[in-house]
């Protein structure tokens, strides 16, 4: 039957596509050169319940870096500390770089030339869609093919030191709350008004 042919053909196509995907070798985080870059990230306006507004970030190329000639750009990212990854598989750390989801927030990127060995220092204002959690900063060095070759982070390998925490904005607004209450009240009142009205009309009709 025609439907069988269609199903079989689509199955074949899917298998073909799947096998072509498997051809690329996965790039691993563990292959990257560690500590090629030295990062620091200092939050300003630290306080309980007040939250962090700005991060002062510096990065520079470490003297021990061996892959330095390959660097074409430096990408700085905000990464989740282990405490913020618990029970949240969408933030999981994976060795395969394309699967890794622990550093989803881009801070900035810089084109690299050897004159920039001494590094950069800049301020980053936190975006308003950064969730509540604990973070550190990581800088990746990428080559001409946009593949990561080295990295450095503002914390140690176990991600226990120099972690700072962020309190997200709630997203709530007074105007939103008021609008919500207004519409809710309108809905209930409209219903009651209609109901009472109809009952009254029915009574008038009956008494006629």
């Amino acid at each position: 039957m025609a439907i069988h042919k269609i199903l079989f053909a689509s199955l074949l196509i899917c298998l073909l596509i799947q096998s072509s995907h498997a051809a690329t070798k996965e790039r691993l985080f563990s292959d990257l050169e560690k500590s090629a870059l030295e990062d620091t990230a200092t939050p300003s306006r630290v306080g309980e319940g007040v939250g962090v507004d700005k991060l002062s970030i510096t990065w520079k190329v470490s003297s021990t870096a061996t892959k330095e000639p390959e660097f074409k750009a430096i990408k700085v990212k905000l990464c989740y500390a282990p405490a913020s990854q618990v029970d949240r598989p969408w933030r999981k750390t994976e060795n395969e770089l394309f699967k890794d989801k622990s550093c989803p927030h881009k801070i900035s990127s810089w084109s690299y030339d050897p004159a920039m060995k001494a590094g950069q220092s800049f301020d980053y204002t936190l975006e308003r869609d950064i969730p509540t959690g604990t973070y550190f900063v990581r800088a990746y060095a990428v080559d001409t093919k946009d593949h990561e070759v080295a990295f450095g982070q503002s914390t140690n390998e176990d991600k226990t030191t120099n972690i700072f925490s962020v309190q997200a904005i709630s997203g709530r607004h007074k105007s939103l709350d008021i609008a919500s209450v207004c519409f809710s009240v309108f809905s209930v009142v409209a219903l009651l008004v209609f109901f009472v009205n109809e009952k009254r009309k029915a009574k008038i009709e009956q008494s006629k």
Partner: protein, 530 residues
């Protein structure tokens, strides 16, 4: 199945999705057309329509149909509105996987109870008010999403919004006051299927609304809250339309009490007893939990799954997730039709086999979905899974009316509740813990579907047989009359209360298959006047 309004079970008539594709009109001479009535559609003596004209908005019949399925669909939209936005909400509220899973469970649990209450409300106030009350009183719950600031609040609000899924009952009840029982099957099956589509529409609608609001300048964490105003407004709009344009009965809004001179003819306790002691009831409760139940569970998790696993944008994940729910448009009626086709050749045994095959295939495709590693295979597997699960829903309600004549309403209600219960259970086991990744959860859900469909083999009708056993050759016990009349005791039989069951038994003889077909029209079926 011509029942007057008010009799227990009459509100659930036609929940089946079977034999409707041909049953667009009643041409049977049993139903005389009332020629004095001035309606857009031909009507019977109760002024219920005998024709189903899909693209008409004529009042009162087709208008009721459209008001009804759209309000039911709106409730599906708001119940599952959070699902495609979870990737944003989880960051705003700092949710864990358990929180998200629990919210999903909560969203389907509320309606288990509200559907039972709604039956009583429809009896007291009529389906128009039942629908309008529920839709407009649940609008505040949708709007209260803007206040949510933590996991507890999120779970509570999703639980409260979930109550509005009880519009299913008002929808079906309202249809049965407006449409003749010979075509109620098609009407209710279409209304149920199109209503369920709301679960797919919302996956498309909410990400687009969110995107538009964000482009207008709102931050992510505010935009999703504003997006919830859209389903809230839909509730209010539909409520107002139902109140203004709808009417309780074909002849007007006369208070249902006036017409209802008689209280329910049967005793609730007795009906409950016969429903509960029939083992087939519980098998169908389980089965529906793994066809409708998994459909609801998947509505809750699929968008987030595609977003996370395949690194898609939010609205792309939404489009794919929408395909799942939208397949209801034709998949559910198709399942009913497949069951009817099987019955034509093999009788009830054919229906049982059809159900088992369709639902098991759905389960296998679900396993494939969980194991798919590329986007294309995942989408293909998802679509096939949706067809299997939704067709199984249609095929289930093609058999349920034959389980009992006296207790049809309660059995249908229990089966429906089983759907929600199965959904809550599945989400609790597989999608609320860190034990399984979402893809593992989906795989195991598929395995569970296959396992929980096996009990179909146990369903045996003495008069028609089961999947593996032929019908009983006993001249007394192997008849339809014996099966349906056994629900009445001797005193009731003396009062001739079982006449309806006997009539039904006569019509049900066609479920014996081709060789037994006596030429009598199957219940609820119209003669094939293609």
């Amino acid at each position: 199945m011509g029942d007057s309004t008010g009799e227990p079970g009459s509100s659930m008539h036609g929940v089946t999705g079977r034999e409707q594709t041909f049953a667009f009109s009643v041409a049977s001479p049993i139903v005389p057309t009332d020629k004095t009535a001035k309606f857009d559609l031909p009507v019977d003596s109760e002024h219920k329509a005998t024709v189903f004209k899909l693209f008409s908005f004529a009042k009162p019949h087709m208008r009721t149909f459209h008001l009804s399925w759209i309000s039911f669909s709106t409730c599906f939209v708001s119940t599952f509105a959070a699902a495609p936005l979870v990737p944003i909400i989880r960051e705003n509220l700092n949710l864990t996987k358990q929180d998200i899973g629990n919210a999903g469970v909560a969203s389907v649990s509320g309606s288990i109870f509200s559907r039972l209450v709604m039956g009583a409300v429809c009896d007291l106030l009529g389906p128009r008010y039942g629908c309008a009350f529920l839709v407009m009183l649940s609008a505040p719950t949708v709007f209260s999403m803007s206040f949510v600031h933590d996991a507890g609040g999120f779970i509570t609000v999703r639980f409260m919004i979930g109550f509005c899924l009880a519009t299913f009952v008002s929808c079906q009840y309202w249809m049965s006051t407006m449409f003749n029982s010979q075509i109620i099957g098609l009407v209710n099956g279409t209304a149920a299927g199109w209503g369920n589509m709301g679960g797919g529409i919302t996956q498309l609608l909410m990400p687009i609304v969110y995107e538009i609001i964000r482009r207008c300048g709102a931050t992510a964490f505010t935009a999703w809250r504003i997006a919830f105003f859209v389903p809230g407004w839909l509730h209010i709009i539909m409520g107002v339309l139902v109140l203004n344009l709808g009417q309780d009965l074909p002849d007007g809004n006369r208070s249902a009490l006036e017409k209802k001179g008689e209280v329910a003819k049967d005793k609730f306790g007795k009906i409950m007893w016969y429903a509960v002691t029939n083992y087939r009831t519980w098998i169908f409760v389980l089965l529906y939990g793994y066809s409708m139940g998994v459909e609801l569970s998947t509505d809750n998790v699929i968008a987030e799954y595609f977003f996370d696993r395949f690194h898609l944008k939010l609205h792309t994940a939404g489009i794919i997730a929408a395909c799942f729910g939208m397949a209801n448009f034709f998949a559910r009626p198709a399942g009913g039709y497949a069951s009817d086709l099987a019955a034509r050749y093999f009788g009830m045994r054919g229906r049982l086999w059809a159900l088992w095959i369709i639902q098991t295939l759905g389960g296998l495709f679900c396993v494939w979905l969980g194991r798919a590693n590329t986007l294309v295979t995942a989408v293909v597997a998802m679509i096939l899974f949706s067809l299997g699960a939704q067709a199984a829903c249609g095929a289930t309600f093609a058999i349920v009316p034959f389980v009992s004549r006296r207790a049809l309403g309660i059995i249908s209600g229990l089966t429906g509740a089983g759907g929600n219960f199965g959904s809550g259970l599945t989400q609790l086991i597989f999608f609320s813990t860190s034990r399984f990744t979402t893809e593992q959860g989906i795989t195991w859900m598929g395995v569970m579907i296959v396992a929980c469909t096996l009990p179909v083999t146990l369903i045996h009708f003495p008069q028609w047989g089961s999947m593996f056993l032929p019908p009983s050759k006993d001249p007394v016990k192997g008849t339809e009359e014996h099966y349906y009349a056994s629900e009445w005791n001797e005193q009731e039989k003396e009062k001739n209360m079982h006449q309806g069951s006997l009539r039904f038994a006569e019509n049900a003889k066609s479920e014996g298959g081709r060789r037994v077909r006596s030429g009598a029209t199957p219940p609820g079926n119209t003669p094939n006047n293609v």
